[in-house]
C-alpha cells in the first residue's frame, strides 16, 4: 500500500511541474533590502509606525509594496523596483465616497448582479509629480481625484464569485475582474 502511495505522489508531481501557471508571488522584504528612495518617501522611523515591506513578482512588472496603518487607516504604497512611487491605496468606508459617485456605483452593481455585497473599498491614487512624500500626500495631494477599487461578492446565474471592480471618481465602471479563490480542500477534508 505504501508503494502505491509513493507512486501516486510521483505521478501527480510530474504532471504538475509540466503545467503552465500564472506567475505571481509576494515575499517579505527586510528594511535593509528596501531602496532608500522608497524608505525616504514613507518617512516613518521604526519607532513611529510599523511598516511591512513586500516584494511582488508578477508578469506585468515586479514591485515593492509598503503596508501600514496611519491614523486608523490602512495604506498600501507601491513602488517600482528602484523605489519610484507608482500608486497609493487607502482603505475607506462606503460613506466616504461622494454621493453622486456612490449612487452610480450602486446602480452599476445592481445591473451587474442579482445580489451583491461590498467587502472592501480602496481609494486609488496614481503617482503624481506633487507626491514628494507620504506626508505631502496626506496634507495636500489628497485633493487629487481618486478611483475606487471595490472587492465585491456578487451573485449571477451561475452562483457567487468574488470580483475586483474599479470605478472612476464619477462612478463609472472602468474594469472588472474575477478574483480566483484559493483551493480550500485542505481545510475541508
Amino acid at each position: 500500500m505504501n508503494n502505491l502511495f509513493t507512486l501516486f505522489l510521483f505521478i501527480f508531481s510530474v504532471v504538475q511541474l509540466n503545467g503552465q501557471r500564472k506567475y505571481e508571488k509576494e515575499v517579505d522584504l527586510s528594511i535593509d533590502q528596501v531602496p532608500t528612495i522608497a524608505k525616504d518617501f514613507i518617512g516613518f522611523s521604526d519607532e513611529d509606525i510599523a511598516v511591512d515591506w513586500y516584494y511582488e513578482y508578477n508578469l506585468i512588472g515586479n514591485s515593492i509594496e509598503a503596508k501600514f496603518c496611519y491614523h486608523k487607516k490602512k495604506y498600501s504604497v507601491e513602488f517600482d523596483t528602484i523605489g519610484m512611487l507608482q500608486d497609493i491605496e487607502v482603505e475607506i468606508r462606503k460613506s466616504k465616497i461622494p454621493k453622486y459617485a456612490k449612487s452610480e456605483i450602486e446602480y452599476a452593481l445592481n445591473q451587474e448582479f442579482e445580489k451583491f455585497k461590498i467587502i472592501r473599498i480602496q481609494e486609488h491614487f496614481d503617482a503624481s509629480q506633487y507626491m514628494r512624500s507620504f506626508q505631502s500626500f496626506i496634507t495636500t495631494d489628497r485633493k487629487q481625484k481618486p478611483t475606487y477599487e471595490l472587492e465585491v461578492k456578487g451573485k449571477k446565474k451561475d452562483g457567487f464569485q468574488m470580483y475586483e471592480i474599479v470605478f472612476s471618481h464619477s462612478g463609472s465602471m472602468i474594469r472588472k475582474e474575477v478574483i480566483v479563490q484559493p483551493n480550500t480542500d485542505h481545510f475541508e477534508y
Binding site: F5, S13, V27, E151, T184
Partner: protein
C-alpha cells in the same frame, strides 16, 4: 510566522504526550478534488493507519471516502459523504454530512461542522464534530505558489455509541507546502485525546503525510 515558530508549534503535542501513556503511528492520506461546474465538486479520499507496536509498524486500517460538495456562497460549502473502513476483516460504513465556513479575506480561518454515523461490526456510532483551522503563511501575507505555510487545527468530537456518551479532542499542527493552488503537501502531527471527561484519558498520536490534488 517564521519557520522556527511553526516548528515549535508542531512539537507541542510531543511534549503533551510525554506526560502519559500513548499510542503512536502513521496516517498517510491522499485527497483528490474534482470540480464539476456550477459550484459542484467531487472529493475522493484514501487514508491508511499504521501503528508502532513493539518496535514494529503494524497495519491497522484503510479508509476510502467519496464526497459530493456544493458551494453555498463564494467560500462556504456543504457536503455529503460516504466512507468505507476496512479494519480487522470487518467493513464499516460511515455517512457524513458537513458544513464548512471559510473566512479567507483577513485571517485565513475555517470552521467545519460535521455529523457522521458509522455502522458495521455490530456497532452504531454517531458523532458531532467541530473543527477550527487557521492558516499562517510563512512568507508574505498570503500563501503563494511554491510557498510553505503552517496550519493549526483544533477539533472537538461528541460521540454517542451504545447509548454511552464520550468526547475527544484533536490537536493537529501542520506544516504544508503549496506547490500551486491545485497541489499541496502536508506533514502533520494529529494528537488525539479521547475520554476527555472520564477516567482513563487516552492519547494517540499519528504522524500524517497528506497530499491534496485538485482538478
Amino acid at each position: 510566522m517564521s519557520i522556527k515558530e511553526a516548528l515549535f508549534f508542531m512539537m507541542m503535542p510531543l511534549a503533551l504526550c510525554s506526560q502519559s501513556s500513548y499510542k503512536v503511528g502513521f496516517l498517510p492520506k491522499i485527497n483528490v478534488g474534482i470540480s464539476v461546474g456550477n459550484g459542484y465538486g467531487i472529493n475522493l479520499m484514501h487514508q491508511n493507519r499504521e501503528q508502532f507496536d513493539q518496535r514494529r509498524i503494524n497495519y491497522v486500517l484503510s479508509d476510502f471516502a467519496i464526497f459530493g460538495d456544493k458551494k453555498v456562497d463564494v467560500r462556504n460549502k456543504i457536503a455529503l459523504g460516504y466512507l468505507i473502513r476496512i479494519r480487522d476483516g470487518y467493513t464499516f460504513h460511515r455517512m457524513i454530512q458537513q458544513l464548512v465556513i471559510n473566512n479567507l479575506s483577513g485571517a485565513k480561518m475555517s470552521h467545519r461542522l460535521r455529523l457522521d454515523e458509522t455502522f458495521g461490526g455490530g456497532l452504531e456510532v454517531f458523532r458531532l464534530r467541530y473543527k477550527n483551522s487557521i492558516l499562517f503563511p510563512l512568507n508574505g501575507q498570503s500563501v503563494d505558489d511554491k510557498e510553505a505555510y503552517f496550519k493549526s487545527g483544533l477539533e472537538f468530537l461528541n460521540i454517542l455509541s451504545e447509548n454511552k456518551y464520550s468526547s475527544e479532542m484533536r490537536i493537529v499542527p501542520t506544516l504544508g507546502y503549496n506547490l500551486n493552488n491545485k497541489t499541496k503537501f502536508e506533514l502533520s502531527i494529529d494528537h488525539r485525546i479521547s475520554q476527555l471527561w472520564e477516567s482513563g484519558t487516552k492519547h494517540r498520536m499519528w504522524f500524517g503525510f497528506n497530499f491534496y490534488k485538485k482538478y
